[in-house]
Amino acid sequence: MAEAVRDAPALALEPAAVRRRLLDVPVLLSIGWLTLLIGLSIVGPLLPIPDPNAQDLISMLALPGQAHWLGADSLGRDIFARVLYGAQVSLTVGLGSVGIGLLVGGGLGMVAGYYRGWSEQMVMGFMNVLLAFPGLILAITIVANLGGSLLNVTLAIGTLFVPAFARIARANTLVFRRREFVLVAQALGARDPRILLREILPNLVGPMLSYSLVMFAIAVLAEASLGFLGLSVPPPAPSWGSIISNERANLDIAPHVIFVPAAAMFLTVMSLNLLGERAQRAYDIRVPGK
């Protein structure tokens, strides 16, 4: 038998200190905000808040107060309720479009990067064509033709995301497929699907996760832009962009009406971006370095 080399306990590369560094105040605040937003969007309809579409012309442009916690808009509708329901839209679109990007784009990119050859040429060629369209215009075209609805907006933005995710997935796959552990798996007789699933995919999770968070933020902004142009969910359903668009005219008299959805959007996008960047850093720490 081998000599009794009982190695010393392995290096502890993930002490509490490292974790503490990752979970600092900005990260905790971001997680807090997003949790609050998601929580409220889910339980919102069950809460005793006013109907977002109920008009109350007496309280037109009311300031925040007893009856309307964050004020009312030009038709007397409760802003808190409208922003909350608008959050549902933003989060759904964000999740859906990132999901489409990950599954379709990420999947195609991984396959293209692994097999190379003509499949790579075809997939990336198609992606280049998609990327050649000006993003927002493509989204507008899709929604305008299919009609404004939550599903169509999600599809439109998701389509925009597919090439971006495909590129990232392919680039990372190219890096990992040259590593020797993939060669070892092939030498062991593993079939390609197994290698893709068990060797390549786990290594893609890190980069794709941080990218997804950033793209989520972009999705929220894109939906707001479409909403601003009246191309998101059809009125009277609220969307952050459409609220801002509707109340544009009252900016000097009642800025709070625009401020609330804008602030919500700002906080959401910034939280997502911050978490995305930190996720990237956290992943890098765990990857074997020098």
Binding site: E3, V5, A8, L11, A12, L13, P15, A17, V18
Partner: protein, 351 residues
């Protein structure tokens, strides 16, 4: 194509202002370099002291994590701060303390009086600049030569380091050269201003054995003809046996044995050196023999033990070794051990 090694003599010794001609060229006193790591403070260079006379070659050997590369960089002032910390000591080059110099003053010395050659020739050279430009840049910066003179000097250097068809190589890019030729270019850049001290950090490790021999011969010849001192950092005891005058063995950031290379390698006193010599496979040993492997692993530099750092792996360790740290003592053959190997025992056990 065969290149004759003695075809081109390397030009004469540099004249210039030097310190007292009989004093040592480099004196390192108590040099300490620390590194901030997530696990704590690592003492990568811990109270290292030695002196180097002109025209002598000192080999610094050790395994990875011994601190030999960090020592070389600390002397050159090339330790990135953060995470590195200069924690004390002096480096006297011709009487001047390099640690005390400002970055500006230090950059005037680097490349001119003290030059460094690194391990990987691929990354030492800028891939987007031509070879000629990279060599000329050094002489233009330090010696103020104009373009034509710099180009001529570059050509002279390429010829001196034994590169075939040097006129053509001047205009080529690094990727067009083989590893051995690239390393020669790196050496040419280092020798461009005729430095008085050359620090070579594993210069031949990445090269084939036959090319290694050529490069070592080149370095040795240049060192002899130009009375240049050299610090040769390596993990390969065989290489240093041929090229060095003195040897310093490092372990866990400290020098544990120091002396003339013949003495240290033939009659090591420090058990670590002896164990290292024993664990190298020998060309004349029969196949399938058992190597005398050193058990265990080097200590973490963030958690160095109280006594001797090698104690946990030492076959001769006694209780004293765990509590008291031995200091480097003895001359000319110094070692840091309470129970050193006896000379006679060492000779017979290595035979």
């Amino acid at each position: 194509m065969r290149m004759s090694a003695d075809a081109v003599p390397i030009t004469s010794v540099r004249q210039g202002k030097q310190g007292p001609p009989d004093g040592p060229l480099l004196v390192v006193e108590g040099l300490c370099t620390h590194l901030k790591t997530p696990q704590g403070l690592a003492r990568v260079v811990d109270q290292v002291s030695f002196s180097l006379a002109r025209k002598r070659v000192l080999a610094v050997v050790g395994e990875s994590g011994s601190g030999k590369s960090m020592l070389a960089r600390s002397i050159m002032g090339l330790v990135p701060e953060p995470p590195g910390i200069r924690a004390g000591g002096r480096v006297l080059f011709d009487g001047k303390d390099l640690i005390a110099l400002s970055e500006r003053e230090m950059s005037r010395i680097r490349g001119r009086d003290v030059a460094m050659v690194f391990q990987d020739p691929m990354t030492s050279l800028n891939p987007v600049l031509r070879i000629g430009e990279q060599i000329a840049e050094v002489v233009r910066h330090h010696l103020g030569m104009d373009r034509a003179a710099a180009r001529a000097r570059a050509l002279e250097l390429l010829t001196a380091v034994g590169i075939p068809m040097p006129e053509r190589r001047l205009d080529e890019y690094p990727h067009q050269l083989s590893g051995g030729l690239r390393q020669r270019v790196v050496i040419a850049i280092a020798l461009a201003c005729r430095p008085r001290l050359l620090i070579a950090d594993e210069p031949t490790t990445a090269l084939d054995v036959s090319i290694q021999a050529q490069i070592l011969r080149l370095l040795k010849r240049y060192q002899r003809e130009n009375e240049m001192a050299m610090i040769f950092v390596s993990h390969d005891l065989g290489t240093v046996a041929g090229i060095a005058d003195d040897i310093a063995v490092m372990y866990a950031g400290r020098i544990v044995e120091y002396g003339p290379v013949g003495q240290v390698l033939n009659a090591p006193r420090m058990p670590y050196t002896e164990a290292l010599l024993r664990s190298i496979p020998r060309l004349d040993a029969p196949s399938h023999g058992r190597l005398d492997a050193i058990r265990g692993r080097p200590p973490l530099l963030t958690a160095l033990p109280e006594g001797c750092a090698f104690q946990a792996r030492c076959p001769y360790a006694q209780p004293r070794c765990a509590t008291e740290r031995p200091s480097l003592s003895g001359a000319p053959h110094a070692f840091a051990c309470w129970f050193p190997c006896s000379a006679a025992y060492a000779r017979e056990s290595l035979a």
